[in-house]
């Protein structure tokens, strides 16, 4: 922390009048100074309590569970047995784990990458549009944004239905091949195409609208000056827009990684709550081990590995966040 605790000195730009009123206030609040010292803690207490109870303790509990043999029997006796690193060594010797991890990493990379690319392109497009078209497109994005995941999953399942789905019909009509009665989920590869499409579709609006909000803050003179100097559109983006928006890109990419790495609903529900092993990604793997097989300790260990992987993947973001916390 850079500021001395308790002092008002942290607010730099004090005008003369503000300084005058500060003296007056100091005199008035002398009696209340003790209250003032405590009040921020009182104000914070409820939020802190909830965060500690529903996040802090479970996080500790999760870590402890991952070192325990904790199954259905232990759920009733309420006591796990300490087994040290057994769960972890089991994970790392489990060839299924490596397959699932690799699958999750690829899935995350593809969905985050495509979300960012499409989101950025749509944001750049929004700048070029006339007022009416812009309003129309933003409203459309908001509509997609507001669609609950569960609703989206059901729509996509319906669109790719092998008998009456609109997608198979359209692709066949477009002469892209014979898609009649194609079951997209028969092969996990095409199955994941549908799942990714559903995830990306739902994620684009947030990215596009946030980047657009950032773009509208880029000074127009800068872009014009560059264009007069003969810069191409791509160069303008690369050398001016992108560097200015870099903080937003870092935040959005990191948030997308966090969200897409732990995707559960889309896979779980697309496969009718019983995903085949070929469809397991990290969160599904952990969930199945814990809640279907009753191996809570093992499932917890997988979850811990998942959290650690995420921390590594979003290290840059974390560092930036910590800096932001310190700056104020």
């Amino acid at each position: 922390m850079s500021q001395a605790p308790g002092g008002e000195a942290g607010f730099p730009a004090m005008t003369a009048t503000a300084a005058g009123s500060q003296i007056r206030r100091r005199r008035r609040s002398l009696g209340a100074s003790a209250f003032r010292a405590f009040s921020p803690y009182l104000l914070l207490a409820p939020a802190a309590l909830i965060v500690i109870a529903v996040l802090g303790y479970p996080l500790y509990f999760l870590t402890r569970l991952s070192f325990e043999q904790f199954g259905l029997a232990e759920l009733i006796t309420r006591k796990g047995t300490w087994v040290g690193l057994d769960n972890y060594s089991r994970i790392f010797h489990d060839h299924q784990f490596w397959t699932v991890l690799l699958r999750t990493v690829i899935f995350t990379a593809v969905t985050v990458g495509l979300t960012m690319v499409f989101g950025t392109l749509i944001a750049l497009l929004l700048v070029k549009l006339g007022r009416f078209m812009r309003l129309l497109l933003t409203s459309g994005l908001v509509l997609v944004w507001a669609t609950p995941v569960l609703v989206a999953v059901n729509i996509f399942r319906w669109m790719v239905d092998y008998e009456f789905g609109v997608l198979n019909w359209t692709l066949t009509k477009l002469h892209l091949g014979d898609f009649l009665n194609k079951d997209w989920f028969a092969d996990p590869k095409t199955g994941f195409v549908v799942i990714s499409a559903c995830v990306i579709w739902g994620a684009i609006p947030f990215v596009a609208i946030t980047i657009y909000a950032g773009l509208s803050q880029v000074p127009a003179e800068l872009v014009e000056a560059a264009e007069i100097d003969g810069a191409r559109r791509w160069q303008v983006f690369k050398d001016i827009t992108f560097p200015l928006l870099l903080p937003i890109f870092v935040i959005l990419t990191s948030l997308s990684i966090i969200w897409d790495f732990q995707v559960f609903n889309q896979v779980w529900l697309m496969r009718g709550s019983e995903p085949e092993e070929d469809y397991w990604i990290m969160s599904v793997y952990s969930f199945v081990e814990a809640f279907k097989l009753g191996e809570y300790g093992f499932g917890a260990a997988i979850a811990v590995v998942m959290v650690c992987t995420l921390f590594l993947a979003t290290f840059v973001y974390l560092r930036q966040m910590v800096r932001m916390g310190e700056a104020r």
Partner: protein, 281 residues
């Protein structure tokens, strides 16, 4: 010469708008397909050539959906959960944001880091310990367990966004009000509250959408069919008797409606609020 340039400008604007329309159509199509399916008659849903416009339109799918078992129970549950989460998160989040924005105290930096770091933790990873904890406390199958958990999803964002709005308020404003003889509380109500009203709206929408759309926690914690939320009920639609696309799409339309209405009311402010919190500092 000038006219040529103007013509080219118009042409390029037209081109961009056409592209915008295409993107709009692609993005919006799944939602359109849901709504149009919801209004179609059974035999038109299951036709080899998809029917792109629902003629004749019918309400029978909606009728079927709302008369399914437990529909009104789960709607009531979802509404209770959403209302409590929004109200409580606003009050608690507001107080915490006030502390962070307007006071300097020991541990402040730490709390901010915690608030930001919390968003890093995949909540799906916490479902195992949460489930065991809640089952010990006897809170599984109770709405209150779900509500407490949702609050934690929502609070970090609420605190961070409201803090951003409060930081944006010039200190002079508050002080001017106090010099004018108003108490601290009076200054707060008349000056601070109206200025952060957009922030309150934005965060309440966020809380609404999170609580309304969440699936996994409710799915694991709430077992009895009459205790479940709309989302969990919707997920059970398929397994009841194969997939009945018409009523399913009608139910999905109904589920999507409330967050949509709220979103459309204020989406500009959400975009602003998010970037305000993100770029500052």
């Amino acid at each position: 010469m000038n006219r040529a340039i103007a013509n080219r400008k118009v042409a390029s604007r037209l081109g961009w708008n056409a592209l915008g329309l295409l993107v709009f159509a692609i993005m919006i199509f799944p939602v359109y397909w849901m709504v149009s399916t919801a209004f179609k008659e059974g035999q038109n849903i299951l036709s080899d050539t998809p029917q792109f416009f629902p003629t004749p339109a019918t309400l029978s799918n909606f009728d079927d959906a709302i008369h399914r078992e437990y529909f009104w129970d789960v709607v009531k549950n979802s509404l209770i959960i959403v209302t409590v989460v929004v109200a409580v998160s606003l009050v608690i989040g507001f107080l915490a944001a006030l502390a962070l924005a307007k006071f300097r105290f020991y541990g402040r930096g730490l709390f901010i880091i915690v608030i930001l770091g919390v968003q890093m933790i995949p909540l799906n990873a916490l479902i195992i310990p949460l489930y065991i904890q809640l089952s010990r406390a006897g809170l599984t199958n109770e709405l209150s367990g779900v509500i407490i958990t949702y609050l934690t999803f929502v609070l970090p964002f609420t605190v961070w966004t409201l803090r951003g709005f409060m930081l944006g308020i010039p200190r002079d404003l508050e002080e001017a009000a106090m010099v004018d003889g108003s108490t601290r509380f009076g200054a707060f109500v008349r000056i601070l509250l109206p200025l952060i009203a957009p922030g309150l709206v934005a965060t309440s929408i966020f809380a609404f959408v999170v609580a309304w759309n969440e699936f996994l926690i409710a799915y694991v914690f709430l077992n009895d069919p009459e205790k479940q939320t709309l989302n969990v009920w919707l997920a059970g639609f398929t397994t009841m008797r194969g997939t009945d696309w018409g009523p399913l799409m009608a139910a999905a339309t109904l589920t999507a409606l409330p967050p949509l209405i709220f979103f459309l009311l204020i989406h500009r402010r959400i975009g602003f609020g998010l970037t305000a919190g993100a770029v500052r500092g």
